[in-house]
Symmetry: C2
Subunit: 519 residues, 2 copies
């Protein structure tokens, strides 16, 4: 041990400079101005939605800014390490980052199920990022745990759950939440699969037939993935038939379950959607819950997008019956308009939340403080260390009250109706469904293509989308209907106007004309 190692003294001085509170202050003020000006400009559509760039070039640009390990490794060689110098450099890096990101706050962003978040939500989130409030055990993230518990309580009230029977947890996204819920369903259905493995467990249940997972045919890809991850096998995912509006058909679900059981297959769960991804179809949850109850099958509802409808008097009928799910997923980073990621996983019976992981880490969970384990999130999530991911939602909720979330649902669902009305009125557009929410799937079919074969019309949609997106004018996404490509919008920036919707159709028509010249 050498207390006076001069190279360590120098290291400590460099570290102290990096941890200087005055650097945080001056950089924080610069950031506030840069973000506010950027938001103003983006909301005014002064630039592009997406500044499209080749990913290799952009990655090279990001790499060029950070010196490689093998290059000189002493701060100060190339850097002005004074406080004003570091602040200036910080501002340059922020500016560059803002200029190369996607601008979800541009009202012409009508893309994926990822919102233009309430801007101040990101500032609440930054409390956790700057101070680091990691969860896993209560002690390490006491306030992160408290706000998560508060929001679990508030959302449970929306679901219609009172008391202390239900359980909830926040995790990093709906894919992980769905995986965790289906892990619980697997552990419950195939009794010893956690300990003995799926191969060992299937040998102990009543049947030696492989277990099946019955899912909405349009369910998000993470559901089938879960079957692959959990050792059930994607081949054992059974798609439940849909009705003409692509909602799960309870009568045919009943038949499917009966047939599977007669053939001797254990059923891990039924996965319903509120709503399904492609066109935002809401399954009839009450009738599905009846069917599942009759067969004694676990009902999981992926309400990642649609859970927020519970907060709207106009739209909550879409999720009637959600309270009957054994487990459900609800993303705050979709229709509660906070930044990614903040996904809620709920269990009707909280005891099930401990079924996911049947083991503990003795160095984490303290037997001298019993009763705290309920607040140690690591016992119930795939993550050990977890961000304090609910801070943003708690902050926005506390600042504005729940009415803001109702407003956001009402305004964006209304935009879905408005886009649909325009498509119906336009002879050169085809709406593929009447929207139940803010997701709309459609095609642009100009007169010249009215009699073209479907594949060609589909190919035209791909080219249209690419042209419009790479021009920076609008951002919308590709999809498919019966195997043929379509366009798809999620109206998830509440500042989008009717003029923006008119402009979208115009932009697609203009791009179409150019494409048709060489199509």
């Amino acid at each position: 041990m050498d207390n006076h190692d001069p190279s360590l003294d120098a290291a400590r001085r460099r570290v102290a400079a990096a941890y200087d509170p005055e650097l945080l202050r001056s950089a924080g003020h610069r950031l506030a101005d840069l973000l506010a000006e950027h938001l103003r400009s983006v909301q005014a559509s002064e630039s592009v939605v997406l500044n499209w760039c080749d990913p290799r070039e952009l990655s090279a640009e990001a790499a060029a800014l950070c010196p490689s390990f093998s290059q000189g490794t002493i701060v100060g060689d190339a850097v002005d390490a004074s406080l004003p110098g570091l602040t200036r450099r910080f501002a340059e890096l922020v500016q560059l980052s803002l200029s190369h990101g996607i601008n979800l706050h541009d009202p012409r962003y009508v893309g994926h199920q990822v919102p233009a978040p309430v801007p101040i939500a990101g500032l609440f989130d930054a409390i956790g990022s700057v101070t680091n409030q990691p969860m896993a055990i209560y002690e390490m993230g006491p306030w992160g745990t408290a706000v998560e518990q508060a929001m679990i309580g508030r959302l449970a009230e929306c679901i219609g759950w009172q008391g202390t029977n239900y359980g909830g947890i926040v995790t990093h996204g709906a894919s992980l939440a769905n995986l965790t819920a289906l892990l619980v369903a697997r552990n419950v259905t195939l009794g010893e699969s956690w300990e003995r493995g799926v191969a060992g467990a299937t040998a102990t249940v009543a049947s030696d037939k492989p277990a099946k997972l019955v899912v909405q045919a349009d369910a998000h890809y993470c559901i089938a993935r879960s079957a692959g991850i959990l050792g059930l096998g994607t081949d054992h995912v059974v798609k439940a038939p849909l009705d003409e509006r692509r909602r799960m058909d309870p009568v045919r679900l009943d038949e499917t379950l009966r047939e599977l059981k007669q053939a001797g297959h254990p059923i891990v769960a039924v996965v319903a959607c509120a709503c399904a991804t492609p066109i935002g179809a809401f399954d009839p949850l009450d009738e599905i819950a009846d069917v599942c109850a009759r067969h004694g099958v676990w009902l999981h509802v992926d309400a990642a997008h649609g859970g927020a409808a519970l907060l709207s008097r106009r739209h909550r009928h879409l999720v009637a019956g959600l309270e009957r799910a054994d487990s459900l997923t609800w993303d705050a980073h979709k229709m509660l308009f906070v930044p990614a990621l903040c996904a809620f996983l709920f269990y009707k019976d909280k005891r099930h939340s401990y079924e996911a992981f049947r083991q503990n880490a003795p160095y984490l969970f303290d037997p001298s403080m019993p009763g705290l384990a309920e607040f140690d999130s690591g016992l119930r999530t795939v993550e050990c260390t977890k961000r304090a991911a609910a801070l943003a939602l708690w902050g926005v909720w506390s600042l504005f009250g729940p009415q803001l979330f109702a407003d956001l649902v009402d305004v964006t669902f209304d935009l879905g109706r408005k886009l649909y009305a325009r498509l119906v009125d336009a002879p050169d557009f085809v709406a593929l469904h009447e929207p139940q929410c803010n997701i709309v799937m459609f095609r642009h079919v100009p007169a010249a293509l009215q009699d073209a074969p479907p594949e060609r019309i589909g190919e035209f949609q791909w080219l249209l989308r690419k042209a419009v997106v790479q021009s920076g004018q609008y951002y919308l996404v590709p999809a498919a209907w019966n195997g043929v490509a379509t366009l798809r919008c999620t109206l998830i920036n509440p500042l989008t106007t009717e003029a923006d919707l008119d402009g979208l159709l115009t932009a697609l028509r203009e791009a179409g004309k150019v494409i048709l010249q060489r199509f």
Copy 2:
């Protein structure tokens, strides 16, 4: 459709107020001052490390601040919705959050493997939180993707990988990274387990014996969990024997693998650690890689904590051989000192990174833009939507250069040695190992307990820790050695001083005296 629904007009006005760039600006400036003042105060140890509070009380306090859904739902009832009013309220909520969090920047924080992060890292992170830069497909998070690619390249250089053969991805924590790597190993080893399930796949491999996962006996609990999640079964986790310094013993690993193979068990992977959690033991990776190569077994290294040693000339010998791993995990939110979560998963052969999830989502991945898929992170992570989690690391690296990371490793590893030296010199403390890094496990055994049975000495450690932590003086964690409780420190705040280490021993002695009066 009613364009003039007055209640929707009111909703749009409330939404516009919440999205006002001027609110972001004024709140951002308040946040900068509040965070800087908090950091200054915490770094000066003016308050407590942890303001301990009962979790039920704290959750109730967090809930009391956000109105329930069933209460009045109109903003303005209880809220001053003017810009100054909202800014004032925002500042109150920030203050409250800061006062109830854990203060990792207090130099007396010597707890879990979670750092006091470089403060400005959180501001880089906030760019993504305020503007929302979700990844999954390149288009939606172009800059998030670019900085991730840049950092993958920089860390790969540290590992010693050049060219384009390796693959890397960022995910939400090492638990998820380890799970993903072991999923790949499972898919590679049990050829059709993704499609047919583990039960179906084991029937097709050469043996019908259950597959085994061979792990460092002290590996993090997420490794055994992965066996439970992946359908392999926690019963099929085989612990590889350790040497006297709790490092994996390559000779006995060789024997273990030979015995398992002779008995007909497929081997999914060997999991080594750099370093293992309990005492920070670094496995001899070169020799382990030799053994794995000889048996043709996948080698995964959990270098979540120790990967950063690669950046230090003094300590990189600890991870010699890391470049020979088939897959490895490295958390930037541990020893690269950025806030949670930013975990890197690397594959020696990048083709393996597509083995994890053998399916795609047609509405996400665009066939008209081939070659982009390599930049669509969602193809290779459990997450679909993902935060732009590498922004903080990229920002710090670009601002200060890689020397800062070398400094942080050197300074904190040195603190580990300094604590150890004090323990060795103190007759009433027992160091349980000579530290290889910044993790130190020990016990306080005052004279009165020198002859007490081990369980009683262990019980004393639990009570000591609880007393010191709940007093707010220091934060350290519980652990166990041969089944008996210990104290454990990770020196992961680089501003911790020798005086703080002296004070830790004093605080434990003082708490011990009080406990002994009624023990």
